[in-house]
């Protein structure tokens, strides 16, 4: 490989960490908040696709990307609220409900998003971090989504809230021991519905960043399962919002390896490199899980980590 190819590869991976990692960061933070309250939301995939469509539509109609971001968060919150309410009913399984909402969310998004495939919506402005470089590849890789700083801030805020605030402690208590929360007179169902809804709103920001920054258009293949990977990401981050940042960066980079190699002139194994995040998650699970024990740091009430 020539130095130019190496640079293209490097720029592609850095760009991937920043661009592909941003939606990963938001969905993993959303899932982290949901799971901390003791519930798993596999429906974040539906939340992500629906909010991506809503954000794009709202930005297109209003002419402002920030209206789109807000609309995406609201749409994500609404669908997640449905998940929260449904799971509160007796005998309703949260894993199955998540799959149902994945179908419903993608269905609604494709249904309403049909007329949005052609037009172009105003995009979220970029922060140019690559002004010092002469290489156009590196410069385009370093033009950063304005939502990314918000996501980093959110991760720190969540970490702080879980550790030091009353509400954070309540969420953790509902997730670790429903009995304890009930004994202290708090509504476990209420806490979980609120946490799931807020988690959906955070994930909705990830959807907005998909259609309003990168790739920056709406189509039916917009999400390649980021919402589902979120569940694995949170396990990888061991339910810590701060570690979600690293996990999202790693997964963004892994996901960008295929396209980056392609832009560097290596077309072989494009689809195989695209499966890298999934294989990586599985590998991490194989290494970290032990039969008969609970994953370290997991909320005690969670149904997925027996």
């Amino acid at each position: 490989m020539t130095p130019d190819q190496w640079l293209a590869l490097f720029a592609g991976i850095v760009g991937g960490v920043l661009r592909v990692g941003t939606p990963f960061l938001f969905v993993s933070l959303g899932e982290c908040l949901t799971e901390k309250s003791g519930r798993i939301n596999l429906g974040l995939e539906g939340v992500l696709v629906l909010s991506a469509m809503t954000a794009f539509g709202a930005a297109y109609l209003s002419g402002s990307p920030w209206v789109g971001v807000l609309a995406g968060a609201v749409a994500g919150g609404l669908l997640a609220a449905l998940h929260g309410v449904l799971c509160s009913l007796a005998r309703v399984n949260d894993v199955a409900t998540g799959i149902a909402l994945m179908l419903l969310g993608t269905g609604l998004a494709f249904y309403w998003g049909k007329p949005l495939i052609q037009p172009q919506a105003p995009q979220i402005p970029a922060i140019d971090l690559g002004w010092w470089s002469d290489s156009p590849a590196l410069r385009s890789a370093l033009s950063v989504n304005m939502l990314l700083p918000l996501g980093l801030l959110l991760a720190v805020a969540l970490y702080w809230a879980f550790k030091y605030t009353r509400y954070g402690l309540l969420v953790r208590m509902a997730g670790d021991s429903a009995h304890a929360a009930r004994a202290l007179g708090y509504s476990v169902v209420g806490i979980r519905v609120v946490a799931t809804t807020l988690g959906g709103m955070v994930a909705g920001l990830g959807g907005a960043s998909l259609t309003l920054f990168y790739p920056g258009s709406w189509n039916e293949g917009i999400s390649s399962g980021q919402g589902l990977i979120a569940v694995a990401l949170v396990i990888f981050a061991r339910w810590s919002p701060l570690r979600c940042i690293g996990a999202a960066a790693l997964f963004g980079g892994a996901g960008a390896l295929g396209p980056a190699l392609q832009s560097a002139g290596i077309g072989w194994g494009y689809h195989l490199f695209n499966t890298l995040p999934y294989a990586l998650t599985l590998l991490i699970l194989v290494i970290t899980c032990k039969p008969g024990t609970v994953a370290q740091g997991s909320p005690g009430e969670l149904s997925s980590t027996r």
Partner: protein
């Protein structure tokens, strides 16, 4: 009929009826008369022989992918990676037909189908193994495996296994004419439907009447009891996963051998995910899967009619399926309601009786 059986049948039917109702309201926002939609759904699915053929053709893979959820579910696992087993099954079928010197006719077809089933069994069996021996949640691992399977599928179809003659749409070499699965009695309904029904009946009988099938149900129903009587839980769970995976792999093989004639991206058609829905509605009961799969095959068949006649987006069926799935899961909450009490005491506060109102009202 006892109350449980009545609930098993009445609740899903009521939920599907409610879903059709909600879907009617939903399409009326697009300015379409709901009655037209309902009629067209029925006509497109079961209206004439042509629709029936279309419906049954789609029902066959749904039965098999639903079994991929139902059999592990009976062993207490939620496996949702049927799509991966399906695509690998299709790929294995096409690869076997291309690389092995096979006799034509029934024997050859059986071998390529077996290749597909084997690939599926290994894939989902792996998810069961990972759970029992590595402690990894099977829902998440099967989902990850499904994405990995689709990646492998695309890589092989566009790379090593590609037929150089397929220019626009990368595909594997086509199956020889002699290995293709034909229609039953000259119709478009292929023998895959018979395989699907046979698998449902066979696995239903196995679970109900055989000692090993009973053991699987014990492991799923009460793991503690299974442990106390010394059942080989791990082996049974991996077996159940492999059996389910074999069904999904067979679905892929049948799709290749009877519909597509080669393996290409058209194989990735959401059958694995719809199968999850079918299995949940059938309450993971193999025999109940047959009618439910036919119903959802019908919805799929009617979907293109909705698009052509009423100008609705092709995702309408996905919306209908989503609404149906949500309401069916929510209807489980009504299982504990004692209807006699509810109907005799209409003066009670509203939250006891029509919790169905809450359910219906919560759909956007």
């Amino acid at each position: 009929m006892n109350r449980d059986t009545l609930n098993d049948i009445a609740l899903p039917i009521a939920a599907i009826a409610a879903a059709l109702g909600v879907f009617g309201v939903f399409v009326s926002f697009a300015g379409v008369n709901p009655v037209d939609v309902w009629l067209l759904l029925f006509k497109g699915a079961f209206g004439d022989w042509f629709s029936w053929q279309n419906t049954l053709q789609r029902a066959a893979p749904l039965m098999l992918t639903a079994l991929c959820v139902a059999v592990p579910a009976r062993a207490g696992l939620v496996v949702i990676g049927g799509e991966g087993a399906l695509v690998l099954g299709g790929l294995a079928c096409a690869a076997a037909a291309h690389s092995l010197p096979l006799p034509g006719g029934v024997v050859g077809s059986a071998v390529v189908c077996a290749a597909g089933a084997l690939a599926g069994a290994l894939w989902v069996g792996l998810a069961g193994w990972l759970r029992q021996y590595r402690g990894i949640n099977e829902t998440i691992s099967s989902l990850l495996l499904a994405y990995i399977a689709i990646g492998i599928f695309k890589h092989l179809v566009e790379g090593p296994l590609r037929d150089p003659a397929s220019l626009n749409k990368p595909s594997t070499h086509s199956l020889p004419e002699s290995l293709a699965i034909g229609g039953i009695a000259g119709s478009d309904v292929h023998w895959g439907l018979v395989l699907g029904v046979a698998a449902c009946v066979g696995l239903g009988l196995w679970m109900r009447w055989s000692a090993s099938g009973f053991a699987v149900r014990v492991v799923g129903g009460n793991p503690r009891a299974a442990q106390l009587v010394g059942l080989p839980a791990s082996r049974l769970i991996v077996t159940a996963c492999a059996l389910g995976g074999a069904c999904a792999g067979l679905a892929g093989a049948v799709e290749v051998a009877a519909v597509h004639t080669n393996a290409n991206v058209s194989l990735i058609a959401f059958y694995g995910y719809t199968g999850i829905l079918v299995s949940f509605i059938a309450r993971h009961h193999p025999l109940a899967i047959i009618p439910v799969a036919i119903l959802f095959g019908g919805f799929g068949a009617a979907g293109s009619m909705l698009q052509r006649r009423l100008g609705l987006p092709d995702a309408s069926v996905l919306v209908l399926q989503g609404i149906a799935f949500v309401l069916i899961l929510a209807s489980e909450a009504l299982r504990d309601v004692d209807w006699k009490v509810v109907l005799r005491l209409p003066k009670r506060p509203p939250e006891t009786g029509p919790s169905g109102v809450v359910v219906g009202g919560s759909v956007p």
